[in-house]
Point group: C2
Chain length 225, copies 2
């Protein structure tokens, strides 16, 4: 096989695993959101605060992707929800096959929503669908307002963008123009939902949680059809 043929076969296998995951979500009427960002943009803190905010509304499970360590899964489990850690051992993104293995360790029949926290990386995870209902990209304010121009694929393919660490804007030390960041991302993706949040202070989390409730409602309705 040539280099291109091998690459195509890998992508084809991935698509089949993604479809299998999608069918599992449909069967169990469980929503799935794939969270993607640079390292340190705040994905895990967003998840722990979102889980705390939604714990009375719905039953949540988490799949944690990391190159090494289970630090993030431990943080998630302290909120009381089940979390499965995948260590990619150098791999730069989660694969649909890895996610399928992790789904076998979650009580799908008793969950409403699954978050997948991907490996911290704005490039590779944008290419690989995992069978999720939506990708949500997190951009933190210290990274700068130009990131959607420099890493366009993930902003084009996400249903939602969370601009996190909005509390740091008050420091006055950052060069981050919120309107510019939103305008640039929406030129790539006119339907992008945007939430300006601070996972640390709670700012903006209500709207994000409302969006998640709507996503789960739609999945439940479609599951009955």
């Amino acid at each position: 096989m040539s280099r291109i043929e091998v690459g195509q076969r890998i992508l084809q296998e991935d698509l089949e695993w993604a479809k299998a995951n999608s069918l599992l979500f449909h069967k169990h009427r469980v929503g799935c959101v794939n969270m993607i960002s640079s390292p340190g943009a705040g994905k895990t803190t967003i998840l722990t605060e979102t889980i705390n905010a939604l714990s009375h509304d719905m039953r949540i499970g988490v799949i944690e992707g990391d190159v090494e360590t289970d630090l993030d899964a431990s943080r998630i489990r302290r909120t009381g929800v089940p979390a499965v850690q995948i260590n990619t051992k150098g791999g730069c993104h989660l694969s649909a096959a890895q996610v399928n293995g992790a789904l076998g360790q979650l009580p799908l029949e008793r969950l409403d929503l699954i978050f997948i926290e991907n490996v911290g990386n704005l490039v590779c995870p944008s290419i690989f669908d995992l069978g999720e209902h939506a990708k949500a990209v997190v951009l933190s304010t210290p990274e700068g307002d130009d990131k959607s121009a420099k890493y366009p694929a993930i902003f084009a393919r996400s249903a939602a963008m969370l601009i996190n660490k909005a509390d740091l804007l008050a420091c006055g030390a950052l060069d981050f123009d919120v309107e510019k960041a939103i305008g640039q991302a929406r030129r790539l993706n006119a339907n992008l939902e945007v939430f300006v949040i601070s996972a640390k202070t709670g700012q903006g989390l209500d709207q994000w949680c409302q969006w998640l409730r709507r996503l789960v409602s739609q999945v439940k309705i479609l599951g009955q059809a």
Copy 2:
């Protein structure tokens, strides 16, 4: 060929290109530092400030790697040094072959030091040697002090770590313990040189520039041997 054989052949080709680059650096007695970080950690600002600080000591050239846009190369050129942009078009790291092409566009015989600014990504660029004398990893304070545990390869393989955006520590809004970050990284790499800097305020840049001067001196001495 199997998937593994194709992968091995790609890595073997990369190693040959890296060796070719290394020989070019040796022939022209030019130092080369490969800068690696997450998106938005401040690599380009570090480079513009470093170039300004070193412009009277040495002649510098830059190779800029980005998924899309030539925003960074334009910023570099405004300092007055030559910069070649490589757009990876979705690729998550620079390859040694791409760098070899870019080196053909730089006046190597008239340079003392080349910076390669890799694609913003803590995972993939750690695997691919480009023929450089040293990798320098940039960790910015808003990313958190746990990044070397979560993305160990690049911290293990770098000669230097720059802890950037040190000015934001004064805000009081970040959870970043400088000593913890340094200790964790040095457990992976006991010889790691560490510079706590702010490219924005200039803090710590003197020591980093001294380290670069020493690297270039060593390359000149070795080139004469």
